[in-house]
Amino acid sequence: LRALPPPVAVGVLHTTRPLHSTQQCLAPVPPLPEKGGEVRHGLIPEEFFQFLYPKTGVTGPYMLGTGLLLYLLSKELYVVNHETVAAACILTVIIYGIKKFGPDVAAFADKLNEEKMAAALAMKNEAMQTLQKAIEEEKKEQWRAEGRNYLFDAKRNNIAMLLEANYRERLLMVYNEVKKRLDYQVAMQTLKRQKEQDHMIQWVEKNVVQSITPQQQKESIAKCILDLKALSKSAHAAV
């Protein structure tokens, strides 16, 4: 990421200066160095010894230190008083403590650091996995969206069927209505004809009954009686 040129301000964002003013990218942060600068006897950096090595060899700085110490003491630029004794005791205790408990404290601090690192790493891995899963889901959705043609075809078929069903329903309704009207007309005609027939029959019967005179009635009754007698004779003969 450091090799990329700094991005220029995009036209959409309202910025008056470019977003990254330096080449340096702040993330990912470079890891801390493993060990600090070398220090000898806990007080003097190693660079001092290296600085004096070409001219005086290995014992040079120690000679310098001894000479300085003796000079300070002899000129009493460093005064020996009660504070010297106190400093000596304190230093002894401190050095003893460091030598004895140093490694344990270092191990404890390392363990704390390890836990922090593990937590951060776990979070990072989890985030990466979540994003990976999101990417896969997205790809799946894209693949699903490719099948939209089938969906549209199915929908078109549905709509066509609905239209067809509606059309046929209306057709049936029209047929029924027309049939009802025609049946009505037919029923009217049959009714009329029936009424005419009945009326005619009644009229004919009435006239016939009217036309039967009493003379004709007597004659017909006598004839009937004669016929009955004849029939009864033939019935007696048959038995």
């Binding site: 801390l32 160095p33 060990k35 600090g36 806990g42 005064v79 008083n81 140093g102 270092a106």
Partner: protein, 84 residues
């Protein structure tokens, strides 16, 4: 690199005079120099993964020396001998 941008450790003894002449002795310059020195000390000895006693012990030793220097006039009166 050019003389004024090199850190003090990389300046040779002969060029020390010219290096000091290129220094910025205004308050902001001094403050900037102090901040740079402090931050370089921190990155070298304190902000490491496995540091030791060296980081703070050097600071404490420096503090001891400084306080001795500040109290020297008072300590001079407790000398053992008058003439050296």
């Amino acid at each position: 690199g050019p003389l004024s941008e090199r850190p003090l450790m990389e300046v040779r003894l002969g060029e020390l005079h010219t290096w000091i002449s290129t220094c910025n002795f205004s308050p902001q310059g001094l403050l900037g120099a102090v901040q740079k020195a402090w931050s370089s000390y921190c990155t070298k000895y304190i902000h490491v993964r496995r540091g030791g006693p060296a980081g703070i012990s050097m600071l404490l030793a420096g503090y001891c020396l400084l306080s001795y220097g500040w109290n020297y006039q008072h300590l001079r009166q407790h000398r053992w001998r008058k003439y050296h």
